[in-house]
């Protein structure tokens, strides 16, 4: 038997990325609306963050409720480096990546001694602390008044000023991110991450260093989030700390969970569903006769979210791959532990 059969899912994803690229290119010609293109810019940006989260959550099995912090680090690095100090935008992106890596290391080393709910809370706390920094360090970030006047993204003299050019940029980055993640999860490192998810003690017994592996996953996802944040800042040109609050981290988590974290495509699927559900509810809810404000959209969104997760607890893409429950091995252990502790 040759390796062909083994790499089937890898090649399958590769075809997927190719089809995606093709679709991305023809899409603007089919749908000329700038509004729809902009929703896809947002989807692309969220898709980048969530693809990183898929590596961290779906493969390494580590939950994060603090990824808005990395998104914000990217956004503010770009804003400050290119908006305040007038360096080229690429320098801002790189600065963001660098800071995100360092911060990921600093938070990851103590956090990864924790598991599940405790890890979720630690990352949540980390998110709040970064938010406070962005809010209080007014001399650098402009504080709650926000930071405006961020120049458009520019590389090699080409400036991404139109929605359409930015759309291509974002989706090219996303496609690269998907390709990178696909390579990674079908490699020695990816298997090591999945092993940790499967059984930490067994992973250690075959020589996998839990801490460094988890850190790698965290750093990768932090870099993805930071790059997306940088691009976002250049796209929107005005940012303020409230964009990177805990709620944003929760939104990222929502996307990954509804998309399904065990599939490479879960992050992107979640981003599409989230953004379009919110947009479509804006049109649909008034049709049902509720015309007051957004409260009904919020209620409907909440109900749909709950219903979806009750019927597809592993997310849309997750159940398709017929994987077992995302956190099932750990979940069982929680109960054991609880039983024992009492």
């Amino acid at each position: 038997m040759d390796i062909k059969k083994f790499t089937r899912s890898y090649r399958f994803n590769l075809y997927g990325i190719t089809v995606l690229l093709f679709a991305v290119i023809i899409f603007p010609f089919l749908v000329p609306s700038n509004y729809i293109i902009s929703t896809f810019i947002l989807i692309g940006l969220y898709g980048i963050v969530c693809t990183g989260l898929v590596v961290l959550m779906g493969h390494a099995g580590q939950i994060s409720l603090g990824h808005a912090a990395f998104y914000g680090i990217g956004a503010y690095s770009s804003a400050i480096v290119s908006g305040k100090f007038d360096f080229p935008p690429l320098a801002g992106v790189l600065t963001g990546i660098l800071i995100a890596c360092i911060v990921a290391l600093l938070i990851g080393i103590p956090s990864f001694k924790l598991k599940e709910h405790y890890l979720a809370l630690a990352t949540l706390g980390f998110g709040v602390i970064v938010f406070t920094f962005l809010k209080e360090w007014t001399s650098l970030t402009g504080g709650l008044n926000g930071f405006f006047g961020i120049p458009p993204f520019e590389v090699a003299g080409f400036s991404f000023t139109t929605d359409r050019s930015f759309y291509f940029l974002v989706w090219a980055v996303l496609a690269f991110g998907l390709w990178f993640a696909n390579n990674l999860i079908h490699s020695r490192t990816g298997r090591a991450l999945k092993s940790i998810h499967g059984s930490e003690s067994a992973a250690e017994s075959i020589g996998i260093n839990l801490m460094t592996s988890k850190l790698k996953a965290l750093i990768i996802s932090a870099v993805f989030a930071s790059v997306a944040g940088s691009l976002y800042a250049h796209y929107i040109s005005f940012i303020n700390p409230q964009l990177f609050e805990v709620m944003t981290s929760i939104v990222f988590l929502i996307m990954v969970v509804i998309g399904g974290s065990s599939s490479l495509w879960g992050g992107l699927a979640g981003a599409i569903i989230y953004v379009w559900l919110v947009e479509l509810l804006k049109d649909w809810v008034p049709l049902l006769g509720f015309s007051t404000g957004g409260e009904f959209e919020i209620v409907f969104f909440g109900v749909l979210l709950v219903v979806l997760l009750i019927f597809k607890p592993e997310g849309l893409m997750g159940s398709w791959k017929e994987r077992k429950s995302l956190f099932s091995p750990q979940k069982k252990k929680v109960q054991d532990k609880k039983g024992a502790a009492l």
Binding site: M1, I3, K5, F6, F180, A181, N183, L184, H186, S187, R188, T189, G190, R191, A192, K194, S195, H197, G198, S199, S201, A202, A203, E204, S205, I206, G207, I208, N209, L210, K216, I220, S262, R323, K324, P329
Partner: protein
């Protein structure tokens, strides 16, 4: 030639002496069995050797190198791998992926090479795959290669776990009750496999309750009771040892 040397090993858990002053050695290309009644401290000894927790006292020496106090993944790197009493397979991964994961230490592709899929990464992936397939054939698991490991029968899951532990050709393999849950036929086959692998140069340390199997495969037996070593010797010697018999049958004899 001694592969592993355990000297005066002790472990206290909050005042409870789980293991006390245990010493023994393991010879190259041998099968050593660690036996004793429940609660004798066998798994504790295992966990100390594999670095799950450090010994309270004493040393563990592998090939003249002191390995006590190292972390589990470092111990694996030194050349000791293990299986677990309650199966610890990567249930969501396929059988071949489980075996391939076992190759972690033999390979070195990092995040960047893997993520960008450089030629060296591809080459290494092919190597990992070939080698793993080879082992699957040896273990007679070829047909199940692409099934999720969690769906296999208990006996086959054991085999996968052993395959994952031996693929890196470690110096020493620790098997924690490998026969548990297997039927008579399966245990006999596994015993044959172990003997074959010994001939190929592997060294095993196993904890086992199935005395018939132990007597058949072991070259050397160490008996623990209440955390203390009470006997050591060849299967014949142990079978005749009075204190071993007392430890195993103690209560019944006195009653």
């Amino acid at each position: 030639m001694n592969l592993l040397e355990i000297k005066n090993l002790s472990k206290d858990f909050g005042g409870v002496h789980a293991v006390q002053d245990v010493s023994f050695t393991i010879k190259q290309e041998s099968i050593t069995a660690l036996i004793g009644p429940n609660g004798a401290g066998k798994t504790t000894v295992f966990n100390m050797i594999t670095g799950v927790f450090p010994p309270s006292d004493g040393t563990i020496i592998l090939d003249t190198k002191k390995i006590s106090n190292k972390k589990p993944h470092q111990i694996a790197k030194e050349g000791i791998t293990r299986t677990f009493q309650n199966l610890q397979l990567f249930a969501d991964m396929t059988v071949i992926e489980n075996i391939m994961a076992g190759m972690h230490l033999l390979t070195k592709t990092g995040v960047w090479k893997a993520g960008l899929r450089l030629t060296s990464a591809k080459r290494e992936e092919q190597y990992i795959y070939d080698k793993s397939m080879e082992w699957l054939k040896k273990l007679n698991l070829e047909q199940e290669a692409y099934l999720p490991a969690g769906t296999l029968s208990y006996g086959k899951q054991r085999l996968v776990e052993i395959g994952r532990a031996v693929i890196t050709q470690p110096k020493l393999i620790l098997l924690d009750e490998p026969m548990a849950g297997l039927n008579h036929n399966e245990s006999a086959k596994l015993a044959d496999l172990l003997l074959d692998m010994k001939k190929e140069g592997n060294t095993f340390l196993l904890v086992e309750h199935d005395m018939e199997i132990v007597m058949r495969v072991a070259d050397h037996i160490v008996v623990l009771d209440h955390g203390v070593k009470i006997a050591e010797g060849t299967p014949d010697e142990i079978q005749q040892n009075a204190s071993v018999i007392a430890a195993y049958l103690g209560s019944e004899v006195t009653v």
